[in-house]
C-alpha cells in the first residue's frame, strides 16, 4: 500500500465536509459565543453588575456621628452618642435552628419589650431584617451582646446608630432645635446647619449569600468609614440663656401670661445672639411630649384622630420660636427708632420742646390720636417726651421726619425693603442663620406716603399699624445704640472640622451704617434717662443699682385679635441695653397677653421693665461689668448679714450698725449664741435681726403674708416681726416708695424662721402709671 492511497482515505467529499464542520464547530460557533460574551461582559457589564450587587450586598448604614453644638464658651448644647439598634434575622434563626423562645425570653427581659412581639418578629420567615429596638443605650446593648455570645445566637444582631442628647434639656430649645429618628435636623440650628452637622454615614456593605447570611469569611464585609459631622460653636451663652429663661419663666407665672413670652439678648456690637428664649419651653430630649395641660386636652379628645390632630397642633405651637417667628406691633419700643431717625436727619434736636395736650390731630384722620395719658404731658423736652413715652410728641416727631424719609430709614434699619412697586406691601427679615424667621408687614409706599393721609405715618411713629419680629427690633435698636451700625444677627460663630480645626469663622457682618455715631450717642443718653431717672422715666423699674442701663418700654394692643374677639389683649415689652455709656448687650423681652387679674397694671413699664432689670442684674456681673454704686444707692442697697455668733454683744452691735442693720435680743447673756437670719444672707437694709443670747433658737414656721402692693420698708418690718426676712431682686431706689411686685413664696406658704423671701419691686408712683 502506497502512501498516496492512504492519503485519499478521507476522500475529497469527506475533506470538504470535514472542513465545513471545522469552520462551523471550530470557528463560527466560537465567534458567536465570543460575541455573546462580549455583549454580556463588556457592553452590558455595568447593568448586570449593579443588578447582581443589589442582591449580593446588604447595606447597613450606621448613622454618622453628628457634630456637637457648643455654646460660645464651648459648653455642649447638643451631643451625639453611639447607641445600637437591635434587629433580628429570622432567616438565619430558621437556617441555624435557633431557639425562638429563648430569643424572645431573653430579649424581652433585656429590652423590656413584650415577649410575644419579639417572638412574632423572630418568626417572620423569609425576612432577614426586623427591627426590635431602636437607639438602645450602650449598657443595654452590651447585655444583648453578652446574651448573643453566650448562646451563640447569630440571628440576633446589632448595628450602631447615634442618638442626640441635649445636656440642658429645655434650655435654649428653640434655637438648638432637634433631630428626627432619621438623624436629620428638624428645627433650629439642627435644621439650619444640618448639612454641616450630619457628616457622612459610615456604611457596612455586607456581602451576603442567597439567604441573606454572611459569606464564609468576615473579610467580605466592607466598612466605608463615615465622616464625623462638623461641630458648631454658637454665639449662645448658656449662662445668659439660663438667667433669661429663669426670669422669663418666673414672669410668666407672676403675671399669668397666657400666650407665651420671649426674649432676645444680643451683643450690640456684633449682632451675635447671646440668648434667645421662647416660652413655653420643651425638653429637646423628648421633643414630642407636650406640656401637662396640653396633654390633658389631647387625652380628652373624643377620638384618636382628633387627639392626633390636637397633639400635632400643640407640638407645632411649642416648637415655634416666638422671638423670630411671631410678628407683632412693637408699640412704644419703636419710638427708639423714630427718635434715632429724627435726630439723625436733623428733624429734631435735643433742645426742641414738645407740647402734649393729650391728643393730636392728624391729616386724614377723623378723630385725633390720643396720648396714653389723659390730659396730656404738657410741655416737655425731647428727653422728657421719650421718658414719658408721649405719643403726641412722637406723632409730631414722625411728621417732622416725613413719610418718605421715615420709610427710607425703616429700609435702612432692616424693617422693610423698598421696592420699585409703590403699591406693594413691604416686608423684610434679618436673614439670621436660623430656620423659621418671619418677615415684617408694612403698608405699601403709596398708602404710607400719601400726603392727604398722614395717619399711617403718625401711628407708625409710636410703633403701630405695622408688624415686625422681635428679632428685627432688637437688631435695629442695637444699631441705634452701638454707634449706628446695623449688624446682621447670627447664632453660629464658628464651624469646626471634625479634627478640631476651624472650617469657617463668621466675622460680624455690618449690613450698613444707619445713623451717625453722634446721633447714636444722643440716643443712648436719652434712653438712659428713661431707666435711670427715678422721677420721670417710664422704664425706671428696669434700673439695677450700680449699673447704667438704657431702654424703652412698650405696650401694644393686639389690634387684629381685638377686632376678631372683642377682647383687649396686650403684648408688653421692654428693650434695654447696658452699660448705657458703652453698650455691650441689648435685651428685649416681651410677654404675650398677661392676665388682667394679677392686680398689676398691664404695661411694659410695670411688667417687662422689672424683668429686664432682674435679668441685667444677673447678666452684667457675669459679663464682668463692675457695678459702680452711687452714694444713695449704697445707702439703700440690701445689706449682707454679718457673722455675729460667738461675738460679745458689744462687738455684734458694732458690726450690725456697720452693715446697716438693726437687731433685737432674746435671752440673757453677753455673748451671741445664735442669730436669725444666718450670716451672708442678703436682706433689706434696716431690717431688725434677732440675736440669741443663750436662748433656744426658734424653729417654728410662719405663714407667709401677701406682700404685693406693700411698700418695701413696710414689708421688711412686717416680715422681720415674724422672724422672716426680705430681699429685693430689683434695685432698691427708694424703700419708702417702691412696692412689692412679686414674691418668691406665695401667700400662705409656710416659711421657717430665718428664711428670706425674694421680691421684685415696682415704682408705685401712681402719677406715671399708664400704658407705656
Amino acid at each position: 500500500m502506497s502512501k498516496n492511497k492512504w492519503k485519499t482515505v478521507p476522500g475529497i467529499g469527506m475533506l470538504r465536509r470535514t472542513l465545513f464542520l471545522m469552520a462551523v464547530c471550530g470557528i463560527a460557533s466560537f465567534a458567536l459565543l465570543l460575541g455573546r460574551l462580549y455583549k454580556l461582559q463588556v457592553t452590558d457589564h455595568e447593568r448586570y453588575e449593579s443588578l447582581a450587587l443589589s442582591q449580593q450586598l446588604r447595606e447597613a448604614s450606621g448613622s454618622p456621628a453628628r457634630g456637637t453644638i457648643y455654646d460660645r464658651r464651648l459648653f455642649p448644647l447638643a451631643v451625639s452618642a453611639s447607641v445600637d439598634n437591635v434587629y433580628l434575622s429570622p432567616v438565619e434563626i430558621e437556617m441555624n435552628g435557633e431557639d425562638k423562645d429563648l430569643i424572645a425570653d431573653q430579649l424581652s427581659q433585656i429590652l423590656g419589650l413584650p415577649r410575644e412581639e419579639i417572638y412574632e418578629k423572630a418568626s417572620r420567615s423569609g425576612s432577614w431584617y426586623v427591627t426590635v429596638a431602636r437607639k438602645v443605650e450602650r449598657e443595654t446593648a452590651q447585655r444583648v451582646r453578652e446574651f448573643k455570645n453566650e448562646y451563640g445566637v447569630s440571628g440576633v444582631r446589632l448595628e450602631t446608630d447615634t442618638k442626640r442628647y441635649y445636656p440642658n434639656a429645655s434650655l435654649c430649645c428653640h434655637v438648638i432645635g432637634f433631630v428626627g429618628t432619621d438623624n436629620v435636623g428638624l428645627e433650629g440650628i439642627e435644621a439650619q446647619y444640618n448639612a454641616f452637622l450630619e457628616g457622612s454615614a459610615g456604611k457596612t456593605l455586607r456581602e451576603v449569600n442567597a439567604y441573606g447570611a454572611d459569606l464564609l469569611f468576615e473579610e467580605y464585609a466592607e466598612h466605608i468609614a463615615g465622616a464625623r459631622g462638623c461641630d458648631l460653636v454658637t454665639t449662645i451663652d448658656s449662662t445668659i440663656q439660663y438667667y433669661v429663661e429663669k426670669h422669663l419663666r418666673q414672669a410668666v407665672v407672676d403675671y399669668d401670661v397666657r400666650n407665651g413670652a420671649g426674649a432676645i439678648a444680643m451683643d450690640v456690637n456684633t449682632g451675635a445672639i447671646l440668648a434667645m428664649a421662647s416660652l413655653e419651653n420643651y425638653d429637646l430630649n423628648d421633643f414630642l411630649a407636650v406640656g401637662e395641660e396640653a396633654q390633658s386636652v389631647v387625652d380628652a379628645a373624643p377620638n384618636a384622630e382628633e387627639a392626633h390632630e390636637l397633639l400635632r397642633a400643640f407640638q407645632q405651637r411649642q416648637w415655634r420660636n416666638k422671638a423670630l417667628s411671631d410678628t407683632y406691633e412693637p408699640g412704644s419700643t419703636f419710638k427708639i427708632i423714630t427718635l434715632s431717625m429724627a435726630l439723625d436727619c436733623g428733624a429734631v434736636s435735643l433742645s426742641d420742646g414738645f407740647y402734649c395736650p393729650g391728643h393730636v390731630s392728624v391729616v386724614g384722620r377723623t378723630s385725633p390720636i390720643r396720648c396714653w395719658k389723659d390730659g396730656g404731658h404738657g410741655s416737655q423736652t425731647l428727653t422728657q417726651a421719650v421718658q414719658h413715652s408721649c405719643n403726641a410728641a412722637f406723632v409730631n416727631i414722625g411728621l417732622r421726619v416725613g413719610a418718605e424719609r421715615f420709610y427710607r430709614y425703616c429700609d435702612a434699619f432692616g424693617f422693610l425693603t423698598l421696592t420699585d412697586d409703590p403699591d406693594e406691601n413691604l416686608s423684610a427679615s434679618t436673614g439670621i442663620d436660623l430656620a423659621g424667621e418671619s418677615g415684617s408687614i408694612w403698608w405699601s409706599r403709596n398708602t404710607f406716603c400719601s400726603e392727604r393721609n398722614l395717619s399711617q405715618l403718625a401711628a407708625a411713629s409710636f410703633g403701630q399699624t405695622f408688624t415686625i419680629t422681635p428679632l428685627q427690633l432688637v437688631t435695629a435698636v442695637s444699631a441705634c445704640v452701638n454707634g449706628g451700625r446695623l449688624m446682621k444677627p447670627f447664632v453660629v460663630g464658628e464651624i469646626l472640622a471634625p479634627d478640631g480645626t476651624t472650617l469657617l469663622r463668621r466675622e460680624p457682618e455690618m449690613v450698613r451704617r444707619v445713623i451717625s455715631e453722634e446721633t447714636s450717642e444722643k440716643v443712648r443718653g436719652i434712653l438712659e434717662q428713661v431707666v435711670g431717672d427715678p422721677d420721670e422715666g417710664t422704664g425706671r423699674n428696669a434700673a439695677v443699682a450700680g449699673y447704667r442701663i438704657g431702654g424703652k418700654t412698650g405696650t401694644s394692643e393686639k389690634v387684629s385679635l381685638e377686632a376678631a374677639t372683642g377682647e383687649k389683649q396686650y403684648i408688653v415689652s421692654f428693650i434695654g441695653f447696658a452699660p448705657a455709656d458703652d453698650p455691650q448687650i441689648a435685651l428685649l423681652v416681651f410677654l404675650d397677653t398677661p392676665s388682667t387679674e394679677t392686680g398689676i397694671y398691664i404695661s411694659g413699664g410695670q411688667m417687662a421693665a422689672p424683668l429686664v432689670g432682674k435679668m441685667m442684674a444677673d447678666i452684667l456681673p457675669y459679663l464682668g461689668v463692675l457695678p459702680e454704686y452711687s452714694e444713695t444707692e449704697r445707702e439703700r442697697m440690701d445689706a449682707v448679714v454679718p457673722q455675729t455668733v460667738g461675738k460679745s454683744l458689744g462687738d455684734a452691735a458694732l458690726t450690725l450698725l456697720d452693715a446697716g442693720l438693726r437687731w433685737r435680743m432674746i435671752g440673757e447673756g453677753d455673748t451671741v449664741t445664735a442669730q436669725l437670719p444666718a450670716a451672708h444672707c442678703e436682706i433689706a437694709r434696716g431690717t431688725e435681726i434677732i440675736l440669741y443670747l443663750g436662748a433656744e433658737i426658734s424653729n417654728e414656721k410662719e405663714s407667709v403674708p401677701n406682700l404685693i402692693g406693700m411698700r418695701y420698708n413696710d414689708a421688711r418690718d412686717m416680715l422681720s416681726s415674724l422672724g422672716i426676712y426680705i430681699h429685693s431682686l430689683s434695685a432698691v431706689l427708694d424703700g419708702e416708695s417702691q412696692c412689692v411686685g412679686t414674691q418668691s413664696l406665695p401667700e400662705g406658704a409656710p416659711a421657717a424662721h430665718g428664711s428670706v423671701i425674694e421680691v421684685s419691686l415696682l415704682s408705685s408712683d401712681d402719677d406715671i402709671l399708664g400704658r407705656y
Binding site: 482515505v9 469527506m14 470535514t18 459565543l33 455573546r36 447582581a52 442567597a210
Partner: protein
C-alpha cells in the same frame, strides 16, 4: 470473514506504524491545560456550596467536590492514556459490543435508575453514579464509524446510508425519552447526523431531517406547555426571574458581573448560592465572573484550538474508521462546549448540558478523557506532522 481479515491486516500494519509516531502532543497538552483549568474552577465554584451542604454529604469539608473531581481527573487522565494505547482496530472491533452494553444500561435506567429533579438519568453503585446517556454518545460515534466503513460506497442509498442509522438512533432516543433526557437526545441525534454526514450520506436527506426536526419542535411547543414555557423564559428570562427564569437570570448576573477582567479567581459572589449548579452546568458562568471576558475568551480559544487540532488529527488519519471516530469525538466535544456556553449565556433555551473537562461529575469526566484518549490513539496512526 472479510471483516476479520481486514481487522487483522490493519492490526499488523498499524502496529508497525505505531512505533514511528507518538500521540499528538499539542492535542494532549491542550486537553491537560483545559483539565487543569477545569479542576481549579471546580474548587473555586464549589467550595461555598460544599460549605453550606449538609455535613453528612460533604463530611463538613469545603473541598469535598474539588477533591472528588481531582480524583476523577487523575482517573480520567489514566483512562485517556490507556485509551490512547489501544489501536483503533480494537475500537472498531468492539464497537457493536460496546453499543449493545450501552443499550442494556440505557434500558435499565428507567427501571432502576436514580431519580433527581423529575428525571431518572443515573445508574448508581454506591457513591459512584453513571449516566448511560454519556456512554451512548460514544457508542453512536464508534458504531456509526464502523458501520460507515462497512458501507463504503453504498452510503448514497437510503436503505444503506440512512435507514439503519436512523433506526439505531430511534431506539436510543426512545430509551432516552423514557428518562426523559431531552438534551442528551439532541446531542445524540446531532452527533448521529454528523457521522452520517461525514460518511457521505446525500445532503438532501439532511435538508429533510432539518425540516422534520423543525416540525417536531413545532408540535412539541404546541402540545407540551413545559416546552413553550422554556421558550418564553428564554426570550425574556427577567419576567420570571424568581421562578423559571431564576437560573438563567442568575447566570447572566454572574457572567455580566465579570466585566473585562473579572472579579478575580476565587472572588465570585454569585457562587454563594445565588447561581444554581454553579460547579456543574453553570461552571462557565463562574469562570466568566472570576476571570472576566479575557479569561473566558482564553478558555474558549483553548477549546477552539483543541477542536481544530482534533479535526486536523482526523484529516491526517489513514483509515476511514480513525478519521470518522476522531472527527466524531471532536464534533461531540465542540457540540457540548457550544451548547453549554450558549445555554449559560442565554443564546439558547436553558437545558442541562455540562461543559466538557470543567463541569463537576466523575463518570462524565472520565468518559470525556477516555474519548480524548481515543482521538490520541487515532493521532498515533495518522501521518506524522
Amino acid at each position: 470473514m472479510r471483516y476479520d481479515t481486514a481487522r487483522l491486516a490493519d492490526f499488523s500494519v498499524l502496529r508497525g506504524e505505531e512505533r514511528k509516531t507518538g500521540v499528538d502532543r499539542v492535542f494532549l497538552v491542550l486537553v491537560l491545560i483545559l483539565l487543569a483549568f477545569g479542576v481549579i474552577m471546580v474548587l473555586s465554584a464549589s467550595f461555598p456550596r460544599a460549605s453550606y451542604d449538609p455535613a453528612h454529604v460533604t463530611g463538613g469539608r469545603a473541598s469535598y467536590y474539588f477533591v472528588r473531581q481531582l480524583i476523577f481527573a487523575c482517573a480520567g487522565v489514566g483512562a485517556m492514556l490507556l485509551c490512547s494505547r489501544f489501536p483503533m482496530g480494537f475500537y472498531r472491533r468492539f464497537a457493536p459490543h460496546f453499543t449493545a452494553a450501552t443499550l442494556l444500561l440505557l434500558a435499565l435506567v428507567p427501571l432502576i435508575g436514580v431519580k433527581a429533579n423529575g428525571s431518572r438519568r443515573w445508574l448508581g453503585v454506591g457513591s459512584l453514579t453513571l449516566q448511560p446517556s454519556e456512554l451512548a454518545k460514544l457508542a453512536v460515534i464508534l458504531l456509526f464509524a464502523a458501520m460507515i466503513c462497512r458501507r463504503r460506497g453504498r452510503m448514497r442509498s437510503f436503505r444503506e446510508g440512512i435507514l439503519p442509522f436512523a433506526l439505531i438512533l430511534a431506539v436510543i432516543v426512545g430509551l432516552l425519552m423514557l428518562e426523559p433526557h431531552f438534551s442528551a437526545s439532541i446531542i445524540i441525534l446531532s452527533i448521529g447526523a454528523v457521522m452520517i454526514f461525514l460518511g457521505g450520506a446525500p445532503l438532501g436527506w439532511f435538508a429533510a431531517a432539518f425540516g422534520a426536526a423543525g416540525a417536531a419542535l413545532g408540535v412539541l411547543l404546541v402540545f407540551f406547555p413545559y416546552a413553550s414555557t422554556r421558550i418564553s423564559t428564554w426570550r425574556d428570562p427577567f419576567s420570571s426571574s424568581s421562578n423559571e427564569g431564576y437560573q438563567i437570570v442568575q447566570s447572566l448576573y454572574t457572567i455580566g458581573s465579570g466585566g473585562l477582567g473579572g472579579v478575580g479567581l476565587g472572588a465570585s459572589r454569585q457562587k454563594y448560592l445565588y447561581l444554581p449548579e454553579e460547579h456543574n452546568d453553570f461552571i462557565f458562568s463562574v469562570l466568566c465572573e472570576e476571570l472576566g471576558f479575557l479569561g473566558a475568551a482564553m478558555v474558549l480559544l483553548l477549546f477552539a484550538l483543541l477542536i481544530l487540532r482534533g479535526y486536523r488529527i482526523a484529516l491526517r488519519c489513514r483509515d476511514p474508521f480513525s478519521f470518522l471516530v476522531s472527527a466524531g469525538i471532536t464534533t461531540l466535544l465542540a457540540l457540548q462546549v457550544f451548547l453549554n456556553v450558549a445555554v449559560v449565556t442565554n443564546l439558547l433555551p436553558c437545558t442541562g448540558i455540562s461543559l466538557p473537562l470543567f463541569s463537576y461529575g466523575g463518570t462524565a469526566l472520565i468518559l470525556q478523557l477516555a474519548e480524548m484518549g481515543i482521538v490520541l490513539s487515532a493521532s498515533r496512526e495518522s501521518e506524522p506532522a
